[in-house]
């Protein structure tokens, strides 16, 4: 029924798509790992990043990949400010309030985009968007290959940041034991904000890598959010290697499952994996420690 010849290209498609998912999930896993909040605004922040790339490209002719220089710090600032002045100030110790606040933020962001930029889907056509790399067994679009490499690089950078720097040590301390961290003099609010900022900065990078192969609209965040959550859980909350591996695995499942059993089955497969991991190995593939 199915030609085995297309299994390999399908697998490669799945891996490259999975890398894109991983890019979105990396920021989320950091935010979850440190702040322990389910960030409803994650999708909308990705949308903000995508609009950022779009306008930098349209207005200044800046190549999307070059946009990272501008967008990553900008997104970091937005994330830091958001956590410091909005999200961080409301919990009063109650989880449900953080949930509602991130929800409120996402509603505001989505509709702000709708109001300012209108609802129509915007795309960019970079000169290399249709360039394809011939791997012999498959044709991989260049933006996807770049995305794949970038995901690996980003995971590595984050791993180094958290594992090898002072800031990283502070973040790990706060993630593990916020009260203790405060007692030894770590400015916990600052660390929370830094983490949220870094998580959002990851989204900025993801946006730059995503727009050449996707589109932007006010609702584009919803397209990736559930998948991102699935990956974070699969990989282990707070684990970057987990997010990467989880992303690749999910991409592969979606692709091969969809190919062999129909697109619905592919989607179903993702959530069944999600449920199975939560039931049988909730700490995820790589355990839930910040690494």
């Amino acid at each position: 029924m199915l030609d085995p010849i297309i299994l390999l290209p399908a697998a490669i498609n799945g891996l490259t798509m999975g890398a894109v998912y991983a890019l979105v999930a990396l920021g989320l896993t950091l935010i979850y790992g440190v702040l322990h909040i389910i960030n409803f605004a994650h999708g909308s922040l990705l949308m903000v990043g995508l609009y950022g790339v779009f306008f930098l490209y349209r207005l200044f002719g800046l190549d999307p990949y070059a946009c990272m220089i501008v967008l990553v710090p900008a997104c970091f600032a937005i994330g830091y400010a958001l956590q410091r002045s909005v999200i961080g100030t409301v919990s009063h110790g109650r989880d449900q309030n953080v949930l509602l606040i991130t929800l409120g933020v996402s509603i505001v962001l989505e509709n702000l985009a709708l109001y300012l930029f209108s609802a129509d889907t915007k795309t960019i056509e970079t000169p290399y968007a249709l360039d394809v790399v011939d791997l012999g067994v498959a044709l991989v679009p260049l933006p996807r290959l770049i995305g794949f490499v970038a995901a690996l690089a980003l995971a590595a950078i984050l791993w180094a940041l958290i594992g090898r720097t002072d800031l990283g040590r502070a973040i790990r301390a706060v993630a593990k034991e916020p009260h203790g961290a405060r007692l030894v003099g770590i400015d916990v609010e600052h660390v929370y904000a830094m983490s949220f900022g870094i998580g959002t900065a990851c989204l900025g990078a993801a946006a730059c890598l995503l727009l050449p192969m996707f589109y932007v609209s006010p609702h584009v965040g919803n397209v990736f959010v559930l998948i991102a959550f699935t990956i974070v859980v699969l990989g282990g909350m707070g684990s970057f290697t987990g997010a990467l591996a989880g992303g690749l695995l999910i991409g592969l499942t979606e692709s091969l499952g969809g190919l062999m059993f129909g697109e619905s089955a592919g989607q179903l497969g993702i959530f069944l994996i999600f449920i199975a991991v939560l039931l049988f190995r909730p700490t995820g593939l790589f355990g839930s420690r910040l690494s």
């Binding site: 030609d3 010849i5 297309i6 290209p9 399908a10 498609n13 799945g14 798509m17 509709n111 709708l114 930029f117 209108s118 609802a119 129509d120 889907t121 795309t123 056509e125 968007a129 249709l130 394809v132 044709l139 679009p141 192969m213 996707f214 589109y215 609209s217 006010p218 609702h219 919803n222 397209v223 990736f224 998948i227 979606e254 692709s255 969809g258 190919l259 129909g262 697109e263 619905s264 989607q267």
Partner: protein, 409 residues
Amino acid sequence: MTGKLHPNRRTVLKTAAAGAALGTLGFPSVLRAQATTVKIGVLHPVTGALSYSGTQSRAGALMAIDEINAAGGIKALGGAKLEPVLADAQSRPDAGAAEVDKLNEAGVAAIVGPYASAIAIATTQAAARHNLPHVVDVGTADQVVTRGLTNTFRFSPGVSSIVQFGIDSLTRINDAAGKPVKTVFIVHEESAFGTNTANVLNTELPKRGFEVVETVKHANPTRDFSNIVLRIQARKPDLIIPSNYYDEYVLFTRALRQQRVAAKGIYSILGGGASSYKFVKEFPDAAAYVMDCNHWFDPRKAAAIALKDKTEKKGLFFSYEVFLNYNAVMYLADALERAKSTAHDALNESLASSTWDKHILPYGPTKFVNGQNTGAQPAITQVLEKDIKVVYPLAFSSGNAVFPIPSKV
């Protein structure tokens, strides 16, 4: 870049909003017959997932209202101007239904909208409770006009007739070209119009001698079409028939080009981007030679071209939502003229008996049966020379079909 609301309209809106607030007193609409304005409910999903179509729809309706007012309003009612009462269906049937009640209490004579079929089911039903005339602008599902509601009218074609027309035309075009196409691959979105289209295609195409090699359903939204394209490549169909929304269409055609798929043609039915000026402008290479069976305007009518220019000057694309809504309001205005009243019964009667032919659409003679204009039909368009031309029906055509598409060497 986008059509922002003009300042004077904002005042109108604020007044309308205040009027809606006061409207809880619920004036009986019979009194309206002697008023100097006729309120028209303009109900569309301007927020939520369907917001693009909703805002395009609203723009079309408002342009018609402006034109009618500029030409002197409804003459049979003493030159009464049309006053739009804007409402947001929020891309949900329950919100749409609630807005219908609000509009009714604001004293609208009729409602135009709400673009989406699922929302239309709820809004027409809500309007039926008050016998409030409801002109459905797009809403192609068959159920919109088959529930026996005497207040519901659709000037444009429904999905069954569109798909039938599409199949008939394809057969004709294929025959005329010497039957180069035998195998067909269908890619459709998972909701109502995609599924309905695919079902009818699967039943009818084999009867016309076509072989459907595969039918693939995809979700809304779908992030990646690479695998679907792989399957297309494996099957090597002569013709690809897509039926999806704009976002997915963009990704799909991009994937087709990246994987170097060369079919003898892409013949879309109710395609999201296949007959879209926006798509042609942004992706001229992908759009070339694509055919679509969809709502379209009559390219020979000067008024249609004039509307297109006007729309583009506002920075909007001339999409089907625009001209179908423009048309719906014009049809309604004509009905008001003939009814000489804004009373619900009179207006419903007038809408049902309409034979209005001053429209800009490629339709047969207007005749309403159970709320559906039987003269309505889609058109087959093809993107030729970076423009969208009607290739079928021949009576309305503005270009010759190129079929099969020339193979790229």
